[in-house]
Every structure is written in structure tokens, then in C-alpha cells.
């Protein structure tokens, strides 16, 4: 089973210019292209309808116009030679025309890939109306059965696009019999109203089209991910359900979730599903406390009565059986590297540190050689809690700085930049040689030099491993994406980080602290051995 995982949409501007003369629309496009080239505006698309007009592209010929031009001019219909690719086509009211102004330098410098993306938009647009649009190899456009419904002809100035595509919605398709559309003799043409046998209002079609356009062009190409869902995916899901354990993969709406689950990997989230912090970037449920853990039978009741600490745990929603269940799930999944993280638990005296230790111990009991990575909250900087974590014998202890100092009030309002750095330092002070790890999410509004500053601060706290990934707005309530960082910039951070002395820098759009955690640890482990 294939599907594109693309839950995040940054909206591109859609300008609906209504019914507008072809020449005026082209003039507007040229002005917008100049502005786009100067970076005055971002990517956008014009959505228009044209009064009746025939246009011939660069590969076209007047031989494909089958009627006398004089006859057309009497009717006030022009025939224009234009600078787009392709042959002859026809526009008239009732046809949806879209002119994307997109800087392909910021996506993929590939004109044919762009043509395929436009086809993708049309196919998903038609699908919304229950119509199956198909593309043909070697022939640009979209067909319904044997009839063509959408026409594509584009141009680019340097790598900024103009011209675009047209989709027949409710227009009179009889006019197409006056031409060999796209230069193809006796090509049959259809419209959405005709194939779907329903009236399709233009305002609605424009709305649907815009939304599908945004799904394809709203995020850069490098953030589109194709994932294969296999049987392992469902086995992972079942194991998580059988052992009733939570994962940060699901709670954080991680974009790698399908991929990781399909490789039988999951990162566990302990201490409940409710976090006592309210960070702007995170989609984990927020609240003051977790629901109490139900006690099963009468026997349990007496147990809780006899051991007061257990009862307290139950009321605080700390599930004393969670460590054992996680160990069971780890075994079922056959993990060789386990990542444990948690919600912040400011309502618990040790911040939940002992639960981490218990979980690590349970996992270690079940499988001796497993690599354990703990990704911990700041525990309100309680030293005793950090000691508990260090004593747990974890191979890696991580604490994510998440963002640059300046953005803390917005991104992590109840955390403290210096405190987070201090935690990493304390871990090292308590245990020399302990591998430590941290992560930064970029695209939240930070500047490049601020990212480098944060990397320096992490190194000053003797942090060994670093993850840098693209922030992707996980939900409507979360902070918007300020910027999509290019793969090249991620590459620069990797180089800078390695020069600074990080043992491993995992810097890529989809990098997350637990993504490829096993591989990154191995790199680090080998490097540690070499330097010893």
C-alpha cells in the first residue's frame, strides 16, 4: 500500500481574479514573476476565467486551427501566439484557469517534474468530485477515459513559473472542435460537469482546486514523503495496543511515524499522555494532572491500602505496571535500541525520574544487551532526579533544547534555556563519559546564527550528539511554520556541528531525536572507540 504522507500544509496565496482578458492576465503574471524573482512576494497562484480566446504555444501551428480566423474575429474571438510550451488550446468562461507563480529554485529545478506536479493537482481535484483523472506517459495533461479534461502549458523566466493549466468545468466544449487541441488530431475533450453529470459551480471548483493546489505546492518538494505501509506497521500498532503503551510518535504527530512503525520501531512515552507544560510547538495533550490509574480488583485495593506510596502513584496517574508493559512491548517488537521519553510531570515530586529508572531496569532485565536511550524532561532542574536518571545505566541520556534562547518565551514558555543547558552539563558532571544528546527544531522563526549559537552552547555543556530537524506545525493550535529550511542549510549545520566536536550530527528536514537513533548511536560508538 502506497500513500503520500503530507499532513502539513502551509497555505500558498491564491489570487482569484475572476473573469479577466487573457492579455491582462499575462501582463499581471509577468509583473508577479519580476516581483517573485526579487523575493518581494512568495509563491502564489492566480485563478481566473477568460472570455473566449484561442492561444497557440511555442510548439504550435496555425494549421491546428480548423476554422477561418476572419470568422472568429467577427465573433470577437482572438487567436493569440503566446510564449508558453505546447500547441493550441481554447479558453472560455466556465473553464478554470490557474497560473502558478512559483520559484522552482526553491523546490526542484526540473520543468518536467513541475508539469507532473500540476497534473497531480488536477487528478486530486477531480477525485474530490468522484472523477478518476488519468495521466499519460509522454503526453502532458489529464484525461478522463479517452477524453482530455485538463490542459497544461507552462513557461519559466529563469526558474520562476508563469502560464499554467486549464480545467474544463462547465464550459461549452463544442469550441474545441474548431481546433486540433494540443496539436492532436480528433482529440476528444470533456468537462467536469459532463463526466460527473452534475452542475459544478465555479466558486466551489476554485475553492476545491485551491485546497488541492496547496496540498501539492504548500510544502517544498523535500518535505513530501512517500511511505510504504507493510505488515510490520500493523504488527507494531497491535503490539502498542496489546501492551497499552503510549508513544511520542503518535502523541507528537511525528511525520516519520508510518515509516518507523513499518520498520518495527517506536519511541515510548511514559508517565501518561498529559503534559503539565504547554509548549507552542508540541501537540501532546496538556493539563495539570493525569487521570488516576484505575485499580482493578479488591485485592489491588487492599494492596494500595497497605502500601501508601502505590496509592499515591495511582492517584497521580503514575502507572506502576507501565515499566513491565514497556519491557514486554520492547521484547515483542524485537528492539535492539529503545528510546524512552515522557511528558513533563511538574505535579510529581521527582518529575517522574524514578519511573524512567524503573522502565530502564525492566527493559534491561528482559534483554541484557539492549541499548537504552532516555530522552528526559528538565525535572524542574532537581538534581536528585538527574542523579536517578544517570544511575539508571542508560547508554544515552538526551534532553532537547528544542529552540534558540530568544524564542523560549514563545516556543517553551514554561521552560528555561539556561536550565536545559545546565541539565546536560549536570549529567556529564555526575558521570564522566556518559553519552548525551540534544535536539533543535528549526523553522520556528530563529535566525541561522542563533542556531549556530545554540549549537555552541550545547557543546559548551559537553553535549555529544545533536539532532536538527524541520518544525512542522503538528496541529491547528500550534505555532505556524516560519520557514522551510532547505536541505543545503541542514547540510551546513551538520558540517558546522561536526567541526564543533559533536560526535554525531543528524541534521535533515525529517530528523527527529529518535529517528534512526540506532544508526546514530552506532556512528557515535565507533567514533568514541577511535578517540579512546
Amino acid at each position: 500500500m502506497f500513500f503520500a504522507e503530507r499532513p502539513y500544509t502551509a497555505y500558498k496565496m491564491i489570487l482569484d481574479m475572476g473573469l479577466i482578458d487573457y492579455e491582462d492576465a499575462l501582463k499581471t503574471q509577468r509583473e508577479l514573476v519580476s516581483k517573485r524573482k526579487l523575493q518581494i512576494i512568495g509563491d502564489l497562484a492566480l485563478v481566473v476565467e477568460h472570455p473566449s480566446v484561442f492561444t497557440i504555444g511555442r510548439s504550435g501551428s496555425r494549421n491546428n486551427l480548423l476554422v477561418d480566423e476572419k470568422f472568429l474575429s467577427e465573433k470577437g474571438i482572438k487567436v493569440l501566439d503566446v510564449d508558453r510550451g505546447g500547441d493550441i488550446t481554447f479558453h472560455s468562461p466556465g473553464q478554470l484557469v490557474a497560473y502558478p507563480i512559483i520559484d522552482l529554485k526553491k523546490r526542484v529545478r526540473d520543468l518536467h517534474n513541475y508539469l507532473r506536479e500540476l497534473e497531480e493537482v488536477v487528478v486530486s481535484f477531480l477525485k474530490k468530485y468522484g472523477v478518476k483523472g488519468v495521466t499519460r506517459k509522454g503526453s502532458t495533461g489529464v484525461w478522463v477515459g479517452e477524453e482530455k479534461i485538463a490542459f497544461i502549458g507552462v513557461a519559466a523566466k529563469d526558474w520562476v513559473t508563469y502560464h499554467g493549466l486549464s480545467v474544463n468545468i462547465s464550459n461549452d466544449i463544442e469550441f474545441f472542435s474548431m481546433i486540433n487541441p494540443c496539436g492532436i488530431k480528433s482529440l476528444r475533450v470533456t468537462s467536469l460537469a459532463k463526466v460527473s453529470r452534475q452542475a459544478v459551480p465555479m466558486y466551489e471548483a476554485k475553492k476545491v482546486f485551491s485546497s488541492e493546489f496547496n496540498k501539492v505546492f504548500g510544502v517544498p518538494q523535500w518535505l513530501k514523503k512517500r511511505v510504504v505501509v507493510n505488515s510490520s506497521f500493523f504488527e507494531t500498532k497491535k503490539a502498542l495496543a496489546d501492551f497499552s503503551v503510549n508513544t511520542v510518535c503518535e502523541s507528537s504527530m511525528c511525520p516519520n511515524q508510518t515509516e518507523c512503525f513499518s520498520k518495527k520501531f517506536a519511541a515510548f512515552m511514559i508517565l501518561g499522555k498529559v503534559c503539565t507544560r504547554s509548549c507552542g510547538f508540541c501537540s501532546v495533550a496538556k493539563g495539570e494532572s493525569n487521570p488516576t490509574v484505575p485499580s482493578a480488583g479488591a485485592q489491588d485495593q487492599s494492596l494500595y491500602a497497605r502500601i501508601p506510596s502505590l496509592s499515591k502513584h495511582r492517584l497521580l496517574g503514575i502507572d506502576t505496571e507501565e515499566p513491565a508493559r514497556i519491557a514486554g512491548c520492547v521484547e515483542r517488537l524485537g528492539l535492539k535500541h529503545v528510546v524512552l521519553t515522557s511528558v513533563s510531570r511538574d505535579d510529581v515530586s521527582d518529575g517522574g525520574a524514578s519511573q524512567f529508572a524503573r522502565a530502564a531496569e525492566s527493559i534491561r532485565c528482559a534483554s541484557k544487551d539492549i541499548v537504552i536511550e532516555l530522552l528526559v524532561p528538565d525535572f524542574g532542574a532537581r538534581k536528585a532526579s538527574i542523579e536517578t536518571i544517570v544511575r539508571s545505566g542508560a547508554d544515552i541520556i538526551g534532553h532537547n533544547i528544542e529552540t534558540v534562547r530568544r524564542l523560549y518565551p514563545v516556543v517553551r514558555s514554561r521552560a528555561d534555556y539556561s536550565r536545559s543547558l545546565a541539565i546536560l552539563r549536570t549529567i556529564k558532571e555526575l558521570k564522566r563519559g556518559q553519552l548525551t544528546k540534544s535536539a533543535i527544531l528549526v523553522g520556528l522563526g530563529e535566525k541561522q546564527e542563533e542556531v549556530v549559537e545554540t549549537m555552541k552552547d550545547l557543546r559548551a555543556s559537553d553535549c555529544d550528539m545533536l539532532t536538527i530537524g524541520q518544525y512542522l506545525m503538528p496541529g491547528k493550535e500550534n505555532l505556524p511554520v516560519a520557514r522551510f529550511v532547505t536541505p543545503e542549510e541542514f547540510g551546513e549545520y551538520k558540517t558546522i556541528g561536526e567541526e564543533m566536536g559533536f560526535k554525531n550530527v543528524n541534521s535533515a528536514p525529517f530528523a527527529r531525536s529518535s529517528y534512526f537513533a540506532e544508526e546514530n548511536f552506532k556512528i557515535c560508538f565507533t567514533k568514541s572507540k577511535e578517540t579512546r
Binding site: 510564449d83 508539469l115 502549458g153 519559466a156
Partner: protein, 76 residues
């Protein structure tokens, strides 16, 4: 003297046609100004001049095709 070569317009597409020379031999052109229009499938590509100068030679005429990397004009 600068050789203007045909850029790669799409992955796996090793040639393109020249559809329009914005500048003719003897004309001056500024860096970044449209020099030539190329066509591949249903797309045209207006290629800016890589340098300022005078068009010394046009090696592929309108309607002709060139391979990626092939010199299509010389600017001095």
C-alpha cells in the same frame, strides 16, 4: 568571452529546442536579462544571460535543438 551552454531543464532530458533568441548577434545584453527561450515538452524556459556583454555568436538558430552542456552562444 563567455560560452553560453544549454542548462539541464529536467531530470533525464538531455536536449531542448531553441524557440526564440531575445538578443541577436551584435546586440548588447545585461547579466540576468532574457537571452534565449528554450522549449522542452510543454514548457518554455527563458534563460537569462550569465554575463553582461555583446552577443558575438549564435550557434543554434531558432527551431534548432541542442544538447545539455552544448555551447549555444558566445558573449563577449
Amino acid at each position: 568571452m563567455t560560452n553560453v551552454t544549454l542548462p539541464l531543464l529536467a531530470e533525464g532530458v538531455d536536449k531542448a529546442s531553441i524557440s526564440y533568441w531575445h538578443k541577436q548577434v551584435g546586440e548588447t545584453v545585461k547579466e540576468g536579462e532574457n537571452l534565449v527561450e528554450l522549449v522542452t515538452d510543454k514548457a518554455t524556459f527563458n534563460m537569462p544571460s550569465p554575463v553582461s556583454g555583446t552577443v558575438k555568436e549564435v550557434l543554434v538558430s531558432e527551431g534548432g535543438a541542442a544538447k545539455v552542456g552544448e555551447t549555444i552562444a558566445i558573449i563577449e
